[in-house]
Symmetry: none
Subunit: 228 residues, 2 copies
DNA sequence: TTCATACTTCGATCGTAACCGAAGCATTGT
DNA sequence: ACAATGCTTCGGTTACGATCGAAGTATGAA
């Protein structure tokens, strides 16, 4: 009768609008304080506190104390992938929260997903990396090729440093706006970081969208061409 | 900051234990009736009905009316993938539940569905009848061919007698163990009756399963071969 | 027709959880 | 020391939805 893992608890945690808003905001990768998350959820600090406690107890959030503040983040990348996949599903059913506003196109073009690049640009990047033989698609997963490792070194990414982490190097993450995979994992993170470091792009204050400068746009499109 | 699709609605739909149990049951791919799903969810038929209406309105379920029954299935493969991914996530967090005992293989092999043959054998029979040109699939429905009528006479089925009934001769019936169509209608009933009359098979007392004798098994498989 | 089955809708109860005001820690700054 | 900020806990209200009994609808069988 009752089979398998209990998805109801997870669903109920995400099922509250205030909590869903908080989780969506945290998918941006930034650590946010309880006060900021209360604002995101449209609730008072007291209510937010109880919500955050539930999310943490459910294993969706992690918190770290820092002075008077408590910074909340998603527990790990698996949570981010779950939220993204649910967004993709909801988008496909037309469960949109609001009519596509002015911020929507920017969000679809390039945004941050936990700590890596998503949206049209994220999908394009992975497509290009596969086409150039840098990354190989093995079944459902992704693998960095030997040739790819040297190729990335030319871009300024030292894969050796990334391997030291226990986190997987390459991971596929389903994109809710494109409904196709983009690159997650420590390599995905490193690539986005390098774009930001080089000044090609910058994060926006309140949104998940990532804005490319005209020069950064050119460099990105040159570095990750798309055939056809 | 409200960005992107609304995951709270989806989460809330999955967040109720009864609904989660129903969805998990339907992830098996079989179509289930409202009554069966009520049993799965541990609730009464009335409550199940409202839950199913909500799930359908939310785009998670599709239903197919068939006589007095309403067969529910997951709306499409995307729903199945969502449930699967949530199960995977929940399993990773240790949100586990018990695994049930063994299923009933006999019920899956052959059982009675109202008055006709269902299960693996039922699906095989219809497949074979279509392959041999006895029955033609016309759109969603089924039609007996002219050649088929004489073919059935050889088996001992007089179609003329069946036509006198107001009941449709051929009807497609969705199989809940195979999730594919088998043959219903007065012809389906007549075929099963002939198997029982010939002693090829017999009904069991308490179960809906139909037990074929070794000889009946051989005759059935000879009469309804399957290619490939 | 009449009866039985499968399901839906109505109505009402009831439990839970979301919510906020107020008070209670905890940390930092002065 | 005291005040200010950030957050949690407590208490009480409120609102929503899950639940089921009973009545209503639809389909099939006799």
């Amino acid at each position: 009768m009752k089979e398998g893992p209990d998805i109801a608890q997870i669903g109920a945690l995400i099922g509250d609008p205030a909590r869903a808003n908080m989780l969506a905001a945290l998918t941006g990768g930034r650590a946010l304080t309880a006060t900021e998350l209360a604002g995101v959820g449209g609730i008072t600090l007291q209510t937010a506190s109880t919500h955050l406690a539930k999310l943490e107890a459910g294993g969706l959030l992690a918190q770290r104390k820092q002075g008077r503040h408590r910074y909340f983040t998603l527990a790990d990348e698996a949570v981010a992938r779950l939220i993204e996949s649910m967004m993709g599903f909801a988008a496909g059913r037309g469960h949109l929260r609001h009519r596509p506003g002015p911020k929507e196109p920017a969000l679809r073009k390039a945004r941050i997903c936990y700590d890596h690049l998503a949206g049209d640009y994220g999908v394009r990047m992975l497509d290009s990396l596969i086409a150039s033989g840098t990354i190989a698609a093995v079944g459902d997963g992704l693998r960095l090729t030997e040739k790819g490792e040297s190729h990335l070194k030319c871009i300024g990414i030292d894969v050796g440093d990334l391997r030291s982490s226990r986190r997987p190097l390459c991971r596929s993450c389903l994109d809710w706006s494109e409904r196709r995979a983009h690159l997650a994992g420590s390599l995905g993170k490193a690539l986005l970081s390098s774009f930001l470091d080089k000044g090609w792009a910058r994060r926006t204050a309140e949104s998940r969208s990532i804005l490319f400068s005209p020069e950064g746009d050119r460099q990105f499109l040159r570095l990750f061409p798309v055939q056809g």
